[in-house]
Symmetry: D4
Subunit: 181 residues, 8 copies
């Protein structure tokens, strides 16, 4: 028998961690995605390089405190997602945060290329919203009501595309510079 549905939880079930509050403008998209699904979360500034032990302690306690997934964002030599993964049994989702140079390629490789034994579930560069949605999918695998919410979300995506399709059909020929036909 598994744990109760996450949307009935009072306590956070997803931890969102980042190395600096300068990552929050990127990472809040993860929080917003979780909010859309009523999944409680907590956000923490924890640095692999500046507070390594606090970070490990937080990670080691995460599962016991009721968290069921962690989202970790970092940039450059981005060690936070992998180090959190080293100290917890929870699935860790890594968000490569792009910095001033290299367009996030360093962040991506530093997060995704983990050695065998300690995986990090990596999403796209700057893809914090998808990190939140991935956490929802993970939780939904054992929470039918959350899975249904994800189905409705996907239906909504499809409807948005259909509406854009109709709108483009209405204006595409007007906006192109060619001859009237």
């Amino acid at each position: 028998m598994g744990p109760p549905p996450v949307t009935e939880s009072k306590a956070p079930v997803v931890g969102i961690v980042m190395g600096s509050d300068s990552d929050w403008p990127t990472m809040r998209a993860a929080a917003e995605a979780l909010d859309e699904f009523d999944v409680p979360w907590e956000a923490r500034v924890l640095s692999a390089h500046r507070t390594p032990r606090v970070m490990l302690d937080w990670a080691a306690a995460a599962a016991g405190r009721g968290l069921r997934a962690v989202i970790a964002g970092a940039g450059g030599a981005a060690h936070l997602p992998g180090m959190v993964a080293s100290a917890t049994v929870l699935p860790v989702i890594g968000v490569p945060v792009p910095l001033q140079h290299l367009d996030g390629m360093d962040s991506l490789l530093s997060i995704v290329q983990m050695p065998a034994g300690v995986p990090v579930a990596t999403v796209s560069i700057g893809g914090a919203r998808n990190a939140g949605l991935l956490a929802v999918r993970m939780l939904g695998a054992s929470d039918p009501s959350l899975a249904r919410a994800m189905e409705r979300f996907q239906t909504g995506l499809a409807e948005t595309v259909a509406a854009k399709d109709e709108a483009l059909a209405a204006r595409a020929h007007d906006e192109s510079s060619g001859p009237v036909r």
Copy 2:
């Protein structure tokens, strides 16, 4: 109330899909990791480009058939993980399979850079073993016995490192070419 523990399941709970049986030598490491944790799985050859509708049908039915996570491996313009993710609410783990050229960088970018709305949990290039372990972490978030197994696994990793550390200490100076001290 969530589903029963996955290790008591008779039916597969993780689907392992790939575009060709030539990916199996890479992808079987995912199966082996799941076997180590007694997580039942099924393996399928499904191609985004050659059997798109069979692939979508399989993905759409996956959750209803009891699967709780999907591992998808692909190389080059690697569309399989993202397309499976488009047709299921389950978490999809993508394994970038390296092909003859570009060392898997094309596979990685084709899998990880998914647009907002449809995430793929990407692991390292060729990292099928980590894909299996990531699936175990996902399942373990709602299955305490599986989480404990992951803890034992991590303890084992640490013990292996400790043993290697001891062994290296015994031989490192002998093997270096410097003067005796």
Copy 3:
């Protein structure tokens, strides 16, 4: 005996598809190129990831509805061109749309590195105008009047270069900062 000349067609002969209307500012250059050659087109918003079945259905019906080429633009993990190609016998031209990060390199590799069996005719990053011109070349191979129009177009390119050549000769030495000679 082949089909009638495309420039006499009332119905669209080229389909221009994209994953979101945010791609239209890039993709309209394809439409404008087709307009210059009086080749009728239609534009659609179809998403590989958000409306996979609608997209496959559209692709499967394209040839039967009289389309003779498809231009598909996408960015990031750009799956639309390849997935359309999987469901049609028509030639599919892929336009890598550059997104916020990586300058379109992810889009390019996701489109061009298709596996054997399902080709995509890839043009340059952001090269929607060339996608339109490539469609004209394809159609012109069986439509002599269109081929002649392409010849005139190429003559026009050459004349523009000649005019620029003359203009530069007139001003180059004035604009350089060196001594009068």
Copy 4:
């Protein structure tokens, strides 16, 4: 009224060109794909850098001689596809041939990044087979019997995947090292 069906042609309808006979082991896969569809072809060694005028003359005469598409392979600073495209109205398909260094990335960028006005339909690195199949798609757009042959080809690809799927199902669990279940 378009030209007669290409499969009834005695004369070549696709030209396959390359800068050196050392590219033939790569490029013959294009010829073989055309053979599978009974599309007549000719193969030429023409060098953008060593025989520029012969190459331009060949390209300029190609359409008049009955060719309806050109496949050009080149490596490194790969100029052949683009230069052929500059001198013909036919669609030109570029195959990036990988050389000893850089894994074909230089070849790819030199072919695909053509300026507006002169497109090259680029396929994957080393993707000569797909170049042949792309030519078939182009020709099939005005040749219903060829389009039907492409449909049968795609059905064949799907059947191959299905057969591999069945075969993998039979052996996957045997080959993984886990406990019997």
Copy 5:
């Protein structure tokens, strides 16, 4: 016995060619460097892709008209330098012009990776000034007065560095935010 000193020439001895006048803002730095050394030049807009025969004719005639080096700038699939080199015995200097995407990496590889037999002397991305200086070095190898002018130029570079060194020494500590010492 070689030709007369280039600085006594009335006619151009260096040709500066580019595919479009949009390259002139980059390429004029080459002209300005030649002006500083009183080396006469001519500038032409010649396109490998839009005016291939005009370009080849110009290149084939260049040596006979008294040119002794060519500087060619191009971007993207940058074929102009290599194609000019194919049709002349003169040394050709290639300037990779950066375009909107990829930061000039495509331009660089398209120019520098020439096959054995037809070299292009490639300078840095956007390095038109160095292209001019390289032409001066080439010409100076058989023109002692020009070689001496290059020596004076290099002395001038060194003096500029020395002056900047002195100036920095005077202000560096003032501008740093640390404690007075």
Copy 6:
């Protein structure tokens, strides 16, 4: 017996060199870091390419004049750090300065990929502050008071993270757009 503590030195113990004063806005962050630790420094404009002998002479004399580490910044084909290292026994720290194109990747590779025999201690692209801190660590290895200052600095980093953590906790939920909980 080693040299006296660097913080008691009147003379500079770290040399900061760069190829042009245009690098100073990047490199001054190294000076500022040294200032925070009361480590005396000198800043010089020395160019590997424009004043090679002055640069070598400075490097050869550096250790004798009391310097104990050198920080060298350069961009593009960045030769200064390696060339200084070739002429001194001191540890040389290289700072890859990003230029207009390639985002510093050329600078990084030109500095870090030194051949066996002559190492350069490379820091991140634009990482001049870390270069200063690395010099402090090097000096602190034989200067206990400096090592203690580095410990206090690291404690300060941790405290800053803790403060940001607390601040984020206070505002994260307010700033996310989800429903109140």
Copy 7:
């Protein structure tokens, strides 16, 4: 007053750490370089991801135990050098170990792109020998006898080059295939 000369130390003054004994074939070149200078070292297998706390404890105790520099090698998402640096005040030298894919580029970026505050002195991909030599330079800055040994080492490098120069002069013309002169 600084510490005693390192070459008189009985205890290790440099720690060489790596994540697995599979890195030892690469990393032993660092040990061998230290041996050439009679600098005592110890080698440890410590994993950032498998034994994070053991690793941090070792790093935190390193300075107190008499170590004065650390050399850390790691590959892929290479976190070991940066994590050791987070827990010590000693200078940490990072060696990017190339793995099966990406040729060490992931290792390099994961090590060198450290955030401000925690530097890692990065050497070339696979450059363990240079890591050892860099440690010698660091130690030599406060140990005149070690600095003199480095001078002798550099003289030796120059002599080797001179000998190779002489040898090449003797055989170069014989080995080239041209006519006798």
Copy 8:
């Protein structure tokens, strides 16, 4: 009046320099190309990093000793071509030598991205033969007999292509696996 024809010179007119005799297997192709044109050369092992002053002295004396161009090969953080260029007025041709990792991309960027003022004429990765041919072109610009030899060489290249073209025509259809036609 320029210098006498280089093919009448007894003394070397081109210097070929490299950092180690391990580069000779790559660089000898430059010597062989010069031999084909009867251009006398000398080969030297000179290291930017191990014998910086010997290298600068050689470069500074090169023009005075009768050399008229320098070919410099180097790999990794390849500083030799640029440093030689800093100390001579002669044109310097750089050959990026590929090392064990990164396929020569580091070598290429370290050589081609020279700052304004000091150009290096860069050829392809491993392109020593082209370096020799580029030197011949440079010398031929003031030596009509050498220019004519280059014309004959280019004619020879064209003839080789023509012969390969004929040979391929004879065997291409036999070797393709398709049906007889």
